[in-house]
């Protein structure tokens, strides 16, 4: 599928952390077209395997690509006089919740709105403040009695937002964090169809990243890959934020560097980008990256891990903004990198030698 069409499809779908079923089926259909087998693991991560083609004298190696398909959301904590009180799943920005349209996943899906008291009835102190969570509520329009029959405590609520094309090749919408990475992985598999590679590729759409990197941790344990690459979003340049803290939207893959990233893997990725003249940027990450890469790195005996960030503006809002060109470039970079993986690359990464017996 074309990047734009796939992005529209998966970002408009619901898939709050722990409840990724809806978006997973869309991803499954797409990745199945470019891989040899697809499975779902216990926690719900979708794992697509594209086997490498290797001569008998080359040992079996594998790379895991991880992009998380879950999105931040809300859940019902209490039914109160016909309204719903709620809490957050993942780190929602309370400043942007007010006035959002939502879908409450009750006995069926109910459209709803997030309301609060209007400015006219607020005192001067309240008017200048971010509305705290306990002053917000969801209104789905049902009477108190009907609400009780259709919605229960613990029901999941997702945000509703249409995918929008901006000018200049940019697009905006919800859940780009991190479904844009799933689109990158899809692009990578599409490119790989036309390339020869010896390493097996596990393309993984992970779950529950926003609630503690859980899907990456468990899927990496199950797959036990030689190396891992996480793809996640990084803060893009925007008005009012220092250049030091951002990467450029439209500037290409932001290749992470720091303790979470294996230095040789970083070198190999940047060398690949330079060799194929893929515009890219360096993204220094001094400590915990807060991404699937952080979890993958310490699975089992340790996995050499890299992180590629997609420059994105307005993170954790429903108007996250990226450049489609960056997705295409990341997909191409990953594919060319994979196609170039050899036993020599493994040696540079300090991986244990393997016999070629299969």
């Amino acid at each position: 599928m074309q990047i734009k069409d796939f992005m529209k499809q998966i970002t408009e779908a619901s898939g709050v952390s722990g409840y990724e079923g809806g978006v997973r089926e869309l991803v499954r259909t797409e990745l199945a077209a470019y891989s040899d087998e697809v499975r779902t693991d216990t926690l719900g991560s979708l794992i697509a395997l594209k086997r490498g083609q290797r001569p008998d004298d080359v040992p079996q190696r594998s790379i895991m690509l991880a992009g998380h398909m879950d999105e931040i959301g809300l859940l019902v904590t209490k039914l109160e006089k016909g309204y719903l009180r709620f809490s957050t799943v993942g780190g929602f920005d309370l400043r942007v919740l007010l006035g959002q349209e939502v879908i409450v996943h009750g006995r069926r899906d109910f459209p709803g709105v997030i309301g609060t008291r209007p400015p006219h009835v607020l005192g001067p102190e309240d008017r200048d403040q971010v509305v705290p969570l306990d002053r917000l509520f969801i209104d789905v329009g049902l009477t108190e009695v009907e609400l009780g029959k259709n919605i229960r405590v613990g029901d999941i609520v997702s945000l509703r937002r249409e995918f929008t094309e901006l000018a200049g090749g940019l697009v905006a919408g919800k859940a780009f964090d991190d479904r844009a990475a799933v689109a990158c992985i899809d692009q990578c598999l599409q490119y790989l169809a036309g390339l020869r590679h010896t390493w097996d590729v596990y393309a993984v759409a992970t779950v529950q990243e926003e609630t503690g990197l859980k899907g990456a941790l468990t899927s990496a344990f199950g797959i036990d890959p030689d190396i891992g690459v996480a793809i996640d979003v990084g803060h893009g340049n925007m008005l009012g934020v220092s250049e030091v803290d951002t990467v450029n939207v439209g500037g290409g893959p932001a290749i992470g560097f720091g303790p979470n990233i294996h230095p040789a893997l970083y070198e190999q990725l940047t060398a690949t980008a330079s060799r194929y003249e893929i515009s890219h940027q360096i993204d220094p990450i001094p400590g915990a990256s807060g991404t699937d890469a952080w979890a993958m790195q310490v699975v089992r005996e340790g996995i050499p891990t890299a992180l590629i960030s997609i420059p994105l503006r307005y993170m954790h809002t429903t108007v996250e903004t990226i450049s489609l060109k960056d997705i295409e470039r990341i997909g191409r970079l990953l594919a060319l990198f994979i196609a170039g993986l050899t036993e020599e690359s493994a040696e540079q990464l300090g991986l244990a030698q393997q016999s070629s017996a299969t």
Partner: protein, 334 residues
Amino acid sequence: MKELIAELTETWGPSGNEDAVRKVIEKSITGHADEVRVDALGNLIVLKKGNVKKGVDKRRIMLAAHMDEIGVIVSHVDEKGFLRFSAIGGVFPPTLLGSRVQFGDGKIGVIGRERVVKPDEAPRMDKMFIDVGSPDKGHVGRRVGDAACFTRPFVDLGQRLVAKAFDDRIGCAVLVQTLLGLKTTPHDVYFVFTTQEEVGVRGATTSAFGVEPEIAVAVDVTLTGDTPEAPTMAVALGAGPAIKVKDRGMLAHVGVKNWMVSTAERLKLPYQFEVLDAGSTDGMAIQTSRAGVATGVLSIPTRYVHSPSEMVDYDDVRHSVELLLGMLSSPVSL
């Protein structure tokens, strides 16, 4: 069951010192288990083997309840024999004032507080000390590193029960009672009594790795929203076992959650859903063990958690046992 609950809650067992609790549990399950072992971190792992049943998938199920309780640990002994201390687990300083603590050898200390400068000052643990009644340092009989926990007798109020350490001895009692009541099961069920939950779900982390379950249910306490001016929370004492949807550390596996709901509905047991904004349980560690475990949590609604007077409803406790028995006696499809 109340006798077991009384004995379990009155037993001494701050995190890392669960031996006495483990002995009580071992004694109470004698003759009901196929295998009993203790792992390196002190977890008690009790296996009830399943009977092969035609057409039923045998599952490897782990139930977990933690044996340890919160407490304090001596960090300094001064010249006069007063003990400074720090917390083991989430101790809320105001609950310490006026409390007595007990050491492993049964000796008691009372908690005192430095001179209060501002009357409305929040009590801080570093301004408190333990007084063991010693006339001088030479007779203290305590050393840096000695652990202590609240001491308070179990009280039966009829419908409601009060004790220290319901978190999570009530979970231990529910597991024991479930094992005693489980005549046959098609599954291999591991009843795991874990250690060091209060200091970071340590015992559950290693026991889950060792047991390697497919499905897990942690049994622990949860907070309620049914007391005056309580934070918004739709959990109440006496409204049935609480089936966890989410807490600070995990989202319950939807399949396990639904398994609990459908069993409760089939047995016509009351239940409520739980969304907890603070705290977590052994479930969060089990969930991410190895390649992932389908994990849910059965919570016993409890008031005044982490105080010396925690309160539960006896019907909630009994219904929790019935719910687990119903779940374990039947085939599971998640």
